[in-house]
Amino acid sequence: MTNTAPQTADAHSAPGAADFAARAHQVAKVYGSGDARVIALDSVTVGIPRGRFTAIMGPSGSGKSTLMHCMAGLDSVDSGQVYIGDTDLTRLKDKQLTRLRRDKVGFIFQAFNLVPTLTALENITLPMDIAGRKADQQWLDSVIDTVGLRPRLKHRPSELSGGQQQRVACARALASRPEIIFADEPTGNLDSRSGAEVLNFLRESVRQMGQTIVMVTHDPSAAAYSDEVLFLTDGQIVDRMVDPTAERVLERMKGFDQPGVAAR
C-alpha cells in the first residue's frame, strides 16, 4: 500500500477543503543566512484529513517539527499559506492567531509543559480559563475518565509520574474540543509502557470522539498507532503510508538513512 510522493503533493486540490482540518500550501521556511542557511521547509503542500490520526515522520533535521509549528500557527512561514479549517493563518495578526490557537488548536508537548504551580485539574482547564470560558463539565468528566486521572486531579505535576503528566497534557488538549491537536513527540520522554498508554489514548480519542490529531515523531512504533504516516525529508514530503505498522515504517525509514537519499 506504499504510495509515492507525487500523490500526496496534490492533496490541496483534490477533495474539498472541508475534508481537511489543516492544510499547508507550498509552505517554505528558511533559517539563517549565508553559510548557516538551512532550508527547513521546501515548498511543502500537505493536507491533514479531518477525524484522522496523522503522524509526521522523518529523520532529525527533516523539518517535521518546523512543519508542525507552522501549521499550528506557532511559527511564521516565509512563503505559502497555512489553513486551519478555512482560515489562512498567514494573514492573521498575533491577536487573531492567539484567539485561533486558543479556540481551535490543542497542543501536546514532548516535555509535558504543565504549569508546575497548578494542580492537574487546573492545568487541564487552563486554556478555557485563559479564554474566560466555562468548561463543559460533562465533556470534561468524560475526558478525565478516559485518561484515568480522576484520583490525581488535586496533585501538582511534580507529584505525578511522566506518563501521568503527559496524560494531563493530553486531557488539557482535548478538554476544549479543538478542531485539531498537534502533538510534538508526545512519547519522547516516556518509557514504552507509559508511551503506549498515551498513544492508545490518542488513537481512541480519534476513533471514538472524532478528534483530529497530528503527531510528530521519529519512533516507528509510535507512528504505528496512526491512521496515516507522512514522511518528510529535507523539508519535503517524500512519501505517505496508510494503516502503518511499526515494521513497515521502520523499513521505509531505513531508506532515508542511506547516504545519497537523505542528502540530496
Binding site: 492567539t98 486558543r102 509543559n113 504549569v115 504551580t117 497548578l118 487552563l126 485563559i130
Partner: protein
C-alpha cells in the same frame, strides 16, 4: 485564571518574593518614616503654637521692609511705649500688652548654658505678662531688676530651684538674678524660656521704653474692625495685624521649615526608591527569563499578549502591596527611632495621618509596577514556539541601540546639570535633579558595554590566582552583561551620591582652610554661641589682658538697598583690616561716620565707583546716604559690604556684637588661657585661634557629610540586597550547570568561592562606576560654586579607597547565602532538573 497562575507563582517562590520585596520595603520604610516623623513633629509644633497669641485680637508690630524671608532682623523695629498709651484710647481695645522678646540663656549650676548651641532650639527671654502665653507653675511672677522666672524644664536641667541665684546670659553684661518662679511652658521641644518684669526685660533685651510688639484683646468689635480702628492711630512704620494672622504666621514659619525638612528627607527616600526600582527591574527580568517556557506555553495554549503582561504586572502589584505593608510598619519604627534621636522632651507618641499610608502604598506599588513593566512587556514577546524548544533566549534588543540611547541620556543629563549649576537665577534643584537622574539611567544603559572590559580586568587576578573557580566566576559575570550591569548600577547610584558628598565635603574643608590661611589675619576671634551678641564689657576685659594688642568688635545686620535686603558688616575697619587680611582694590578704608566699602563684584554689579553716594534704609525706618570710600577684593569673612560703625550704632536699637577680633603679641597657650580667664563670666563666648577656626569648620563639614552619608547608606543597603538577589537567581538558573560542575568533581568550597568572586567583581564594578560619576559630580559642583567660596577641589582618595574595600565586603556578604545554596545543591537532582 491568569491571576491564579500569578498567585501560585508567588506562593511557590517565597524567597524570591521576599528578596524582591525587601527593595520595596526599605524604600517605602524611608518614605513612611519621613512622613510619619514630620507629621508627628508638625503635631507637636501645632500644640506648641496653640499657646501663641491665645486670645489676641490685634497685634501691632513693625512693617516688613522687604519680601525677603530672612527679613526678620531687618524689620525688628521696636514699638515705642507711647503707642501703647495711644492704643488704650481706641474703642474696643482691651488689655493692650507690650511684649519684649529676645535672647536670654540660663547658665546651669555646672557653669554651662542650658540648651543646645548655635543652630538648636532658641533660648527665649520675655517680659512676664499675666494671662500671656504661659502660666506660672510654682512661685510667683518676677518683679524688679533682680528677679527672674525660668521654665520648669530648664530649671530641672540646670539643677536650679526657687530661691537660687541664677546666672542669665543676655546681650549685655551677664546677670545674676534670683529665681522666683517656675513657668509651665508645656513641650517646647528643647527651647528655653526666661521671664523678667517688663522694665528689666526692656533694659536687658531691647531698649527702655520700647516693645517688640503690642498685643490686645477685643471688648466687642471683630478682629478686622479692631484692626482697622487701631491702624488709624499708628505711625507709618508700624502695622496692625489680626490675631488670626499672627497665629498663622507663627505656624507658617514652622510649617515652612518642616516642609523643607520633609522635602529634604523625601529626596533621600526617593533615591532609595530609585535604586530599589533597579533591583525590581533586574529581578523581574530574571524571573521572566527563567519562566520563558512556562510563559510560552501559556501563549501556545491561547493566552494573548496582554494577558501575559498582566500576569507579570499582577505579580508586581502583589510584591508592591506586600512590600508597602511591611515598609509602612518598618517606617513607623524608623519614625520612632528618629523621634528618639532628634527631639528632646518629646511628649506625645507618633501621629498617624492617612498621608503616609496612602503615600506608602502608592509609592511601593507604583515603583514596582513601573520597574516590572519592561520585563513584563518582554515576557509578552516570547514566541509561543519557545514552549517547544529547549534552548530559548529571550529576544534581546541590540546593544547598539542601548549605546546610542545611553549616551544620549547621559549627554542630556550632563547638559541639564551644567545648565542648572551655571544658570544662576532660577532654582537649580529641578534641572540638576533631573540631570542626575538621566545620567544614572544613561550610565546604567551603557554599563553592559562598559562592564565587559572592566570585568575582564577585575576578574583577571582571580582567574590567575584561584584557577578554575576564578575563571568560571569571571566568565559568569561576563555571561550576561546586562544583568551584571543592572546589578552594579544599583550600587553605583548610592556610591556616586556618597562620593559626590564626600568630594564636596573635602573641597569645603580644603577651601575653608585655604581661606583661613589666606584671609584670617587675627590671632584669636571671640564669638558668642546662641542668638545674643557679645557684651561690650567683654571687649574691654579682653583688651585689658596683658599681651593683647588690640580687641576690636564687629557687628552685622541687614539694611535695604535698592529695595533688597542687604547684609552688612560694621566695625572699626582700621582694626579689622588686619584680622581679615583686607586687600583694597581702590579707595581707602577711612569710613568716617557715613562711609561704606563694597567688594569688587558688588561694585561692578551696581556700577558704583569710589565717591558714589547710595541711599540705604535701616530698620529704624530712616534712610541715610552712604558714601562709597573703597572697593576691596572678595573676602569671605567680610562678605559683600562694610559700613562705618557709627552708621550701625545710629540705626540699631540694641547693638549686638557679632564677634571680637583679637591680636596679641604671642599666640601661646598662656595668652589664650588669659583671654579665656578674662571672659569667664560670659559662658556664651568662645575663643578660637586659627587652628580652632579650621577645626570648627572641619567639624561642621564633617557633621554635614556624615549626616548625608547616613541618609544615602539606605540606598547602598538596598543595592546590596540586589546583589544577593541577582546571585541567588543566577544560582537557581544555573542549577544544571552547577550540578554538572559538581558531578565532574568541583568541591563545594570551590563552588562557593566561584559565587563569591562573581559577587565581588560585580560589587567592585558598581563601586568604581559610582566613584567615577561621584568625582565628576563633585568636581562639577565645586566649579559651579567656585565664586561662592568653594575654591579648592579636593578628592579624598583615602576615603574613596575605603569605599572600594566596602564594596568588596558587600560582595562577600551578598554572596554568603547564594554560595551556601549553590554548595548545598544535590548533584543528581541538579542535573536532572530542567
Amino acid at each position: 485564571m491568569m491571576a491564579k497562575v500569578t498567585l501560585r507563582n508567588l506562593a511557590a517562590h517565597k524567597i524570591r518574593l521576599v528578596l524582591t520585596a525587601i527593595a520595596v520595603i526599605l524604600g517605602v520604610a524611608f518614605v513612611a518614616g519621613t512622613l510619619i516623623f514630620t507629621d508627628t513633629m508638625n503635631k507637636q509644633f501645632d500644640d506648641l503654637f496653640d499657646r501663641v497669641g491665645k486670645g489676641v485680637a490685634v497685634d501691632v508690630r513693625a512693617k516688613k521692609l522687604t519680601d525677603d524671608p530672612m527679613d526678620e532682623g531687618l524689620s525688628a523695629q521696636p514699638v515705642p511705649a507711647s503707642v501703647l498709651e495711644r492704643l488704650r484710647s481706641v474703642p474696643g481695645v482691651k488689655n493692650p500688652t507690650g511684649n519684649v522678646t529676645g535672647y536670654a540663656a540660663v547658665v546651669g549650676s555646672n557653669g554651662k548654658i542650658v540648651g543646645t548651641g548655635q543652630n538648636g532650639p532658641p533660648q527665649l527671654g520675655v517680659n512676664w505678662t499675666p494671662g500671656g502665653d504661659y502660666d506660672m507653675q510654682e512661685g510667683r511672677a518676677p518683679t524688679g531688676p533682680t528677679e527672674v522666672a525660668i521654665d520648669a524644664k530648664t530649671a530641672e536641667k540646670g539643677k536650679l530651684k526657687i530661691g537660687d541665684t541664677a546666672r542669665i546670659v543676655v546681650q549685655g553684661p551677664p546677670q545674676r538674678l534670683k529665681v522666683v518662679g517656675l513657668i509651665d511652658t508645656g513641650n517646647l521641644m528643647g527651647a528655653t524660656v526666661t521671664a523678667f518684669d517688663t522694665a528689666t526685660a526692656q533694659k536687658l533685651m531691647l531698649k527702655p521704653g520700647y516693645f517688640n510688639d503690642i498685643q490686645m484683646a477685643t471688648s466687642g468689635p471683630s478682629e478686622t474692625e479692631l484692626q482697622a480702628a487701631v491702624a488709624k492711630v499708628l505711625p507709618a512704620n508700624l502695622e496692625a495685624i489680626t490675631g488670626t494672622q499672627l497665629r498663622d504666621d507663627a505656624k507658617s514659619d514652622v510649617a515652612t521649615m518642616m516642609n523643607f525638612f520633609r522635602t529634604f528627607l523625601l529626596v533621600f527616600a526617593l533615591i532609595s526608591i530609585f535604586v530599589g526600582g533597579f533591583i525590581i527591574f533586574n529581578t523581574f527580568s530574571m524571573l521572566v527569563a527563567q519562566r520563558t517556557r512556562e510563559l510560552a506555553l501559556l501563549r501556545a495554549i491561547g493566552a494573548a499578549r496582554p494577558q501575559v503582561t498582566r500576569a507579570v504586572i499582577g505579580e508586581a502589584i502583589a510584591v508592591g502591596f506586600v512590600g508597602s505593608t511591611f515598609g509602612l510598619l518598618l517606617g513607623a519604627g524608623l519614625a520612632m527611632l528618629l523621634q528618639g534621636f532628634m527631639m528632646q522632651d518629646s511628649a506625645s507618641g507618633l501621629v498617624f495621618t492617612p498621608t503616609p499610608i496612602i503615600a506608602s502604598y502608592a509609592v511601593g506599588i507604583i515603583v514596582t509596577v513601573v520597574s516590572a513593566y519592561f520585563p513584563a512587556r518582554r515576557a509578552a514577546k516570547i514566541p509561543p514556539v519557545a514552549a517547544m524548544r529547549d534552548d530559548v533566549a529571550l529576544p534581546q534588543r541590540s546593544l547598539r541601540i542601548r549605546i546610542a540611547l545611553g549616551s544620549l541620556l547621559t549627554a542630556i543629563g550632563a547638559a541639564l546639570i551644567a545648565l542648572g549649576l551655571t544658570g544662576g537665577g532660577g532654582n537649580p534643584v529641578v534641572p540638576v535633579g533631573i540631570g542626575v537622574l538621566l545620567v544614572f539611567i544613561g550610565i546604567a544603559m551603557l554599563a553592559p558595554v562598559i562592564s565587559v572590559p572592566v570585568v575582564k580586568v577585575l576578574g583577571a587576578p582571580f582567574a590567575k590566582l584561584m584557577g578554575t573557580p576564578g575563571r568560571l566566576a569571571q566568565q559568569n559575570a561576563l555571561r550576561n552583561p546586562r544583568r551584571t550591569a543592572a546589578t552594579a548600577a544599583a550600587l553605583m547610584i548610592g556610591l556616586a551620591l556618597i562620593t559626590t558628598v564626600n568630594v564636596m565635603g573635602a573641597s569645603m574643608r580644603a577651601s575653608v582652610e585655604a581661606q583661613v590661611d589666606d584671609q584670617f589675619g587675627a590671632d584669636y576671634v571671640i564669638e558668642p554661641t546662641g542668638a545674643g551678641g557679645a557684651d561690650p564689657g567683654a571687649v574691654k576685659q579682653v583688651a585689658a589682658v596683658p599681651g593683647v594688642d588690640k580687641a576690636s568688635p564687629f557687628y552685622s545686620a541687614n539694611a535695604k538697598i535698592e529695595g533688597k535686603r542687604a547684609f552688612y558688616v560694621a566695625g572699626d575697619i582700621g582694626d579689622l583690616a588686619q584680622g581679615v587680611r583686607l586687600k583694597m582694590v581702590t579707595g581707602s578704608t577711612s569710613l568716617g561716620t557715613d562711609g561704606m566699602m563694597v567688594d569688587e563684584d558688588t561694585a561692578k554689579d551696581r556700577k558704583w565707583t569710589v565717591g558714589t553716594t547710595v541711599p540705604v534704609s535701616f530698620p529704624d525706618g530712616k534712610t541715610q546716604q552712604l558714601r562709597l570710600t573703597g572697593i576691596y577684593e572678595k573676602n569671605q569673612f567680610l562678605g559683600p559690604r562694610v559700613f562705618a560703625e557709627p552708621v550701625y550704632m545710629a540705626h540699631t536699637a540694641n547693638p549686638a556684637i557679632d564677634g571680637i577680633v583679637v591680636n596679641a603679641q604671642n599666640t601661646d597657650a598662656s595668652t589664650k588661657a588669659a583671654i579665656e580667664g578674662a571672659i569667664k563670666d560670659h559662658p556664651n563666648l568662645e575663643v578660637s585661634d586659627q587652628a580652632a577656626v579650621k577645626e570648627d569648620a572641619r567639624k561642621q563639614v564633617d557633621g554635614f557629610v556624615t549626616f548625608l552619608t547616613v541618609l544615602l547608606v539606605m540606598s547602598v543597603i538596598i543595592a546590596a540586597v540586589g546583589v544577593i538577589n541577582t546571585l541567588a537567581l543566577s544560582v537557581i538558573e544555573r542549577t544544571r550547570e552547577i550540578g554538572l560542575l559538581r558531578a565532574i568533581g568541583i568541591s563545594r568550597r570551590q563552588l562557593r568561592r566561584m559565587v563569591r568572586i562573581e559577587s565581588i567583581v560585580i560589587a567592585v564594578f558598581g563601586a568604581l562606576l559610582g566613584i567615577g560619576i561621584g568625582v565628576a559630580f563633585g568636581a562639577a559642583v565645586q566649579s559651579a560654586l567656585e565664586d561662592q567660596g568653594l575654591t579648592v577641589l579636593s578628592v579624598p582618595a583615602g576615603t574613596l579607597a575605603v569605599f572600594v574595600v566596602i564594596a568588596v565586603v558587600i560582595g562577600v556578604l551578598a554572596a554568603l547565602w547564594p554560595a551556601w545554596r549553590a554548595g548545598r545543591m544535590d548533584v543528581l537532582k541538579a542535573i536532572s532538573t530542567e
